[in-house]
Amino acid sequence: MNQTIEIIGAIVTLIGSLFLFLGALGLIRMPDVYNRIQAGTKATTLGTMLSLLGIGLIHLDWYGKIIVLIIFVLVSNPISSHVLAGAAHYIGIPLTRRTVIDKLSDKPMIRVQKENSNSETVLTDEKTGK
């Protein structure tokens, strides 16, 4: 019985590490900053949660620290990605050419910021577009 729970825990950890790998692959493949943040955040949140849950199933007496870590990752990871996306849009990092609509850049504050660094945004957009 004990052996079975340990093997289930190991398999849960393996699934979590697979999600971590997919998140890192998304970080390489996605075309612009915002899509990279999306792939990175979601996959790493569930990947880390499942990995730690698997370790917790193997060592049932470590539950306290594992619960604190899982709640911490679940709360802190979306906040840091949200803050980074806001900063990226504020300093005018361009979206990819496949973008359909951008309602946020109609705000005057952002537009001023974009005009200041106009040449640079065009240059990076040339590199980003495939």
Binding site: A10, S17, L20, F21, A24, L69, V83, Y90
Partner: protein
């Protein structure tokens, strides 16, 4: 059996860390590098958890918690620097 599966999982996390380091180097913008650093840290938390099982020491969980806290605060401060200055 358990340790064998854990070593395979360790390999996947290692591959993920290599991919994030590639993104950290080619970057294009600094925000890309910060995201790579964030993903690297969160993957490292899972990695430290697996090492805690393999060496059978619970103290590594505390290290993972403090590492995550420091990285979270670092990301917040970098983003605030880009939006408002220090």
């Amino acid at each position: 059996m358990v340790n064998l599966i854990l070593y395979i999982a360790l390999g996947f996390v290692g591959l993920a860390l290599i991919l994030t380091i590639i993104r950290f180097i080619i970057g294009r913008t600094n925000i890309d590098r910060v995201i790579a650093l964030d993903v690297m840290t969160v993957s490292s938390i899972a990695l430290i958890g697996m090492i805690a099982h393999l060496t059978n020491r619970v103290i590594y969980m505390d290290i993972a918690l403090v590492y995550g806290l420091l990285s979270f605060i670092a990301v917040l401060i970098i983003a605030r620097y880009y939006e408002k200055g220090l």
